[in-house]
């Protein structure tokens, strides 16, 4: 079945009423696809059945959040982006005595582990804390284990090498029963917690904030809300990094941020 516009509205308002998660500012085309996929996977023939489960089963609702959001991610996605982090950004923030980085919308953590590896190779890991947040509790559970499918390591090793990585990528994990378990000393520098960009506030100040491929799921107003939150969490000369097809050009931040080079990394101006 496919949900009608008014059924989608009913789902959005039920979720808001029962759990306080507000999906009304999400890009509608993608949200429609997610809802229809959820109805299909759950074999629903009436939207009312889904609504009733959402109302009565909080555990099930956590899964719904995971299904409504898109959690696809990769290590070293867009190698050129990581190359710019290595060459241009880390040398600058590396001069600080202590570094704080925020991954907003970290999904299952691949991006956070990629960053920890970069920091390690620049001898900055020990003085850095990586804050990794997401709206979905499910993905955070996966992220904090640092265990990813082994079959993806070949692709990740290639991405790593194109990003300028010189080591043997396999030194960062132990392979076992089809899984790759990343080193505990990487995990030791990470703090995972649930945080909703729609409704939660700034919780610290950071030298670098990464929010990649999350804003594509928000409409313009909600994007501006999230960008303001990042602005509140960045000191002057702090850095903001977005996904490769996201832009702040037409946003509330455009005039106070300067793009560093070709990649989607901006510096907050004084």
């Amino acid at each position: 079945m496919t949900a009608t516009d008014s059924e989608i509205e009913a789902i959005i308002s039920t979720i808001f009423e029962y759990y306080g998660y507000d999906f009304s500012g999400y890009s509608r085309a993608s949200l429609n696809r997610r809802v229809n996929r959820l109805l299909e996977l759950g074999n629903y023939s009436h939207v009312e059945d889904l609504l009733s489960r959402i109302r009565h089963e909080p555990d099930y609702f956590e899964r719904v959040v995971g299904d409504l959001t898109v959690n696809v991610t990769e290590m070293f996605r867009d190698p050129q982006f990581y190359k710019q982090l290595r060459e241009k950004i880390l040398p600058i923030i590396g001069t600080k005595p202590f570094i704080r980085i925020w991954h907003a919308g970290c999904s299952t953590g691949e991006e956070v582990f990629s960053m920890a590896i970069l920091l390690d190779e620049h001898k900055l890991l020990e003085k850095t804390l990586l804050y990794a947040t997401d709206i979905s509790p499910d993905v955070l559970q996966t992220a904090k284990k640092g265990i990813f499918p082994l079959r993806q390591m070949k692709q990740y090793a290639e991405n790593y090498a194109s990003s300028g990585g010189k080591e043997d990528f396999s030194k960062y994990y132990m392979a076992n029963y089809g899984l790759a378990k990343f080193e505990d000393r990487l995990i030791a520098r990470m703090v995972f917690s649930q945080h909703n960009l729609v409704s939660d506030r700034s919780f610290n100040e950071f030298d670098l904030i990464l929010c990649r491929n999350v804003l594509i799921y928000f409409d313009k107003d909600l994007q501006n809300r999230a960008l303001t939150l990042f602005d509140d969490s960045l000191p002057n000369l702090g850095f903001l990094a977005l996904g490769s097809k996201e832009n702040i050009k037409f946003s509330v931040l455009s005039h106070r941020y300067q793009q560093v080079e070709r990649e989607k990394i901006w510096k907050k101006l004084r």
Partner: protein
């Protein structure tokens, strides 16, 4: 909603389709009353190359799509690789990194279906050459929403599989070779 009033052509293609596009764009009107969105399967490393060559050959303005790019009349929009491209009720284009479909991202089906839901009978969908079955389901949904469907004549296609697969599963309004597609786009349809 106002922006969604425009006349839209969405062209989907896979293997061999860049050559077809190169044969179409030099002959497009310079200030048409429609806009074109290209959804082609290609490697991410080819992104800027395709944008450059289309710009050089075309009299229409060429706009590489980023998230929430606003559609405007008279321009050619090019979908980036590695993202699905969706059409919003606001007239904006949005991007999505969800799972590949038929081994493809962008998925032509996803773009056709999403355009059909918004643009209805103001949409023309054109499916070109390719080696997989992407596009067929999307064209069916375009027809269900009163849109206009053109399939490249498999005989004129570099790789006939994709248009042939669509033809086996649905009835388009027109089957055209590359010159036919050029003439159609100049016909004021």
């Amino acid at each position: 909603m106002e922006k969604a009033a425009l006349k839209l052509v969405v062209i989907g293609g896979s293997a061999g389709s860049v050559d077809v596009i190169m044969r179409i764009v030099p002959f497009l009107p310079s200030d048409p009353d429609f806009s074109i969105v290209l959804v082609l399967h290609r490697k991410s490393s080819d992104d800027t190359t395709l944008e450059d060559v289309v710009s050089i050959k075309s009299a229409m303005k060429v706009i590489p799509v980023e998230d929430k790019t606003m559609l405007e009349t008279g321009a050619i929009f090019i979908a980036p690789s590695d993202y699905h491209l969706l059409f919003e009720p606001t007239g904006e284009l949005s991007l999505d990194v969800s799972e590949k479909i038929n081994y493809s991202r962008p998925s032509i089906d996803v773009s056709f279906e999403s355009a059909a839901a918004i643009y209805k009978n103001r949409l023309t969908a054109i499916l070109l050459t390719g080696a997989n079955s992407d596009g067929t389901a999307g064209l069916i949904s375009v027809k269900e929403n009163d849109g206009f469907v053109i399939i490249q004549d498999p005989e004129s296609a570099d790789i006939p599989f994709m248009p042939a697969n669509a033809l086996e599963n649905m009835t388009p309004d027109l089957v055209l070779d590359v010159d036919g597609i050029v003439n159609f786009l100049n016909s004021g349809f």
